[in-house]
């Protein structure tokens, strides 16, 4: 936790709402492609933006199990919503990626690795839970015995501009997962949006050098202790508002020791095995590959794309899936997220963002399912 020392506010500044557009310009001037929340097809998604008018000003989201709807706010907040169906994963670990190309030649073939994307990107509006999700994928792709160089290049070329949450959705449970709502680390710049009756401004936290360089020409004023307190109040409010929770106590062993719990059959009767939850989840990393040739048969390529443990081909072995039943697939998904992930990567695979709850067509709620397994469980 932060302390309220005077020294501690050196990196905090005030940016008035009128000056916010200059931040996006400064990012563009520094040759970043700016990716930010924007409205598309009735949802707030992440895409490249050109200016502040592309941001979802004055919009909020109403999220429930199996439901996501935009609604107007009674103010013009730029970040007055929680997370939508997209996550930053689509940039750092893209849904589809060419791995290499092969070309036939006399007596064989040559293989050429796909060029690596080194474009500079600024992610504007990254929530605390999303930073946690990115750091979880870092462990998958950068901290194991093998390193995904393409991921590393994209990751290293990304500037993270975080936003502290003020209004969590009803599906959020980051407090239980200790990932939010306040941004604590892993960012270059962090923003807290503060709106009162007569004023709309931001407290800007410039943590690192990359962030400070971008902020250099912005109309900033020191925020001081008062600025810090105002920013802390925003996330404290968000924390109080959060109604959903997940009891993680002993969950790692609990799930692995209860593979035959009757609740798995219960949830399987509702689950459609549609793969929505794994697609929206910011930490799910699974992929498959496809090998193709062109019509001449001379050129081949391997393309990687997102896969899901809910698909039948995922566990195929000798002509049939190992996980035939929906029960076994849901069990794999939830046990991986909340339990075996800890064995594998030293952290839960769930950051409490609530996406899988809102985007499940059957309204299945991971927090309720975990609680149901806990009831009547083997220890």
């Amino acid at each position: 936790m932060r302390t309220f020392d005077d020294d501690d506010t050196n990196h905090l500044f005030i940016l008035e709402r009128a000056g916010f557009g200059a931040l996006i310009e400064a990012l563009s001037d520094a040759e970043y492609e700016v990716i930010a929340p924007t409205i598309r097809d009735g949802a707030i998604i992440y895409d490249a933006i050109i200016s502040e008018v592309d941001l979802p000003s004055g919009w909020a989201d109403d999220q429930q199990a199996g439901r996501y709807k935009l609604k107007r706010r009674n103010d013009e907040a730029l970040f007055g919503y929680a997370v939508g169906p997209h996550s930053w994963k689509k940039y750092l670990h893209p849904p589809e990626q060419l791995l290499w190309r092969a070309k036939k030649k006399e007596g064989g073939f040559d293989i050429h690795a796909a060029p690596i994307d080194t474009r500079k990107r600024a992610f504007l509006g990254v929530r605390a839970c999303e930073i946690a999700a990115i750091e979880i994928q870092d462990r998958v792709f950068l901290r194991g015995p093998h390193i995904d160089e393409a991921y590393r290049a994209r990751r290293e070329n990304t500037l993270i501009i975080a936003v502290n949450c003020g209004d969590p959705a009803a599906t959020c449970f980051c407090v239980s997962m200790s990932t939010g709502p306040a941004v604590r680390s892993g960012y270059d710049i962090a923003i807290t949006e503060i709106i009162s009756e007569d004023r709309h401004h931001f407290v800007i936290d410039a943590a690192g050098d990359a962030g400070r360089t971008v902020l250099k020409h912005l109309p900033l004023r020191p925020a001081g202790k008062k600025g810090l307190q105002a920013a802390e109040a925003v996330t404290a409010h968000a924390q109080q508002q959060m109604k959903r929770s997940l009891d993680t106590d002993g969950l790692q062993a609990l799930l692995q020791n209860n593979a035959d719990h009757p609740q798995w059959d219960n949830v399987a009767s509702r689950c459609l095995s549609c793969t929505n939850c794994t697609a929206v989840c910011p930490t799910c990393f699974c992929t498959t590959v496809e090998d193709h040739t062109d019509l001449s048969g001379e050129n081949a390529e391997r393309v990687q794309h997102w896969d899901s443990c809910f698909s039948g081909s995922f566990s195929e072995l000798g002509g049939a899936p190992v996980r035939r039943s929906t029960k076994s697939r849901y069990r794999q998904w939830m046990t991986h997220k909340l339990s075996t992930w800890i064995d594998q990567f030293g952290t839960s695979g769930c950051v409490g963002c609530g996406r899988c709850i809102a985007w499940c067509p059957a309204g299945i709620d991971i927090t309720e399912e975990a609680a149901a397994i806990r009831k009547g469980a083997n220890s």
């Binding site: 015995p145 593979a259 195929e316 594998q344």
Partner: protein, 281 residues
């Protein structure tokens, strides 16, 4: 887009030329290939490790080394033709070229065999990943005490490596074979491979077992060894799951907390016993 550095070689196949190919038994081919690059790194491979073999434009599958890569980059694989990729790999003629990534996986616990009685239990094609370890026990600088191979096949015509079996016998490996079904002229054992175990006395305290075959066979074999007093830590099983990457990224090979591609494929029984009894894990 600026073009930067490239993917690591973990995900880019090396090129290998098929030197010989023969059908060992109906539907199972042995190919002997020569790597064109990086032979030195491949020569570090260990028994029980595997490679991802690529058939041009068709796909890539995990296949165990059935002999280890030599310093000159020669290595052989035993491949059962089942689906698209294995069919493409076994269709290739001498002089043809395949892609190859690896070596992957942990391999058998060779370091733990010194001074021990090594019991090897193979079912069907499961003998392929065991072949380098049997070669090592028979002909290598192994300090193991005694080596016994129990090998079960569907029928006499499905027994792989018949020539090697003779060589292993001559080198002092105690080889027991059995088949599920046989005609009258078969003079050997009939019955599941685990039934052979009871006929051979075990020094249970000093035994290390290496098992590979169909999962159900491995379960029975491991339980039989447990009943015979062999410690679960000394019983090793090589597991198989769908694999797309072999480097811990694709998620397909998960078996509970384990990634079979990087934590396995060989696991001590005490590490996986409870999960082996969970259906559809």
């Amino acid at each position: 887009m600026k073009q930067g550095h490239h993917q690591t070689h973990d995900s880019i196949p090396a090129i290998a030329t098929v030197k010989t190919k023969r059908w060992e038994i109906e539907g199972v081919a042995i190919i002997d290939v020569k790597l064109s690059t990086n032979q030195r790194a491949w020569a570090q491979s260990k028994p029980g490790q595997f490679a991802m073999l690529y058939g041009f434009g068709v796909g890539e599958i995990p296949i165990s080394f059935s002999t280890l890569p030599s310093a000159e980059g020669r290595v052989s694989f035993t491949i059962r033709r089942t689906g698209a990729v294995s069919a493409a790999l076994t269709r290739i003629k001498c002089g043809g070229v395949i892609g190859m990534r690896g070596p992957f996986g942990n391999g058998w616990p060779i370091e733990q065999l010194a001074g021990r009685d090594v019991v090897i239990i193979a079912g069907g094609l499961g003998v392929a990943p065991l072949r380098p370890v049997i070669d090592y026990l028979a002909f290598g600088r192994s300090d193991a005490n005694r080596a016994t191979l129990f090998y079960g096949a569907r029928e006499p015509a499905a027994i792989l490596y018949t020539k090697d079996i003779e060589r292993w016998r001559n080198a002092g490996v105690d080889v027991h074979t059995t088949v599920d079904t046989a005609s009258h002229d078969w003079r050997g054992n009939v019955g599941v491979v685990t039934s052979l175990l009871s006929g051979v006395p075990l020094d249970s305290e000093n035994t290390v077992a290496l098992i590979c075959g169909p999962e159900i066979m491995m379960r029975y074999a491991a339980e039989a060894l447990k009943d015979a007093g062999v410690s679960d830590e000394d019983v090793w099983l090589s597991l198989e799951r769908n694999m797309k990457c072999a480097i811990g990224f694709c998620g397909h090979c998960q078996f509970g907390p384990a990634f079979i591609c990087k934590d396995g494929p060989a696991f001590a029984y005490d590490q996986i016993r409870s999960n082996l009894f969970v259906r559809e894990l």
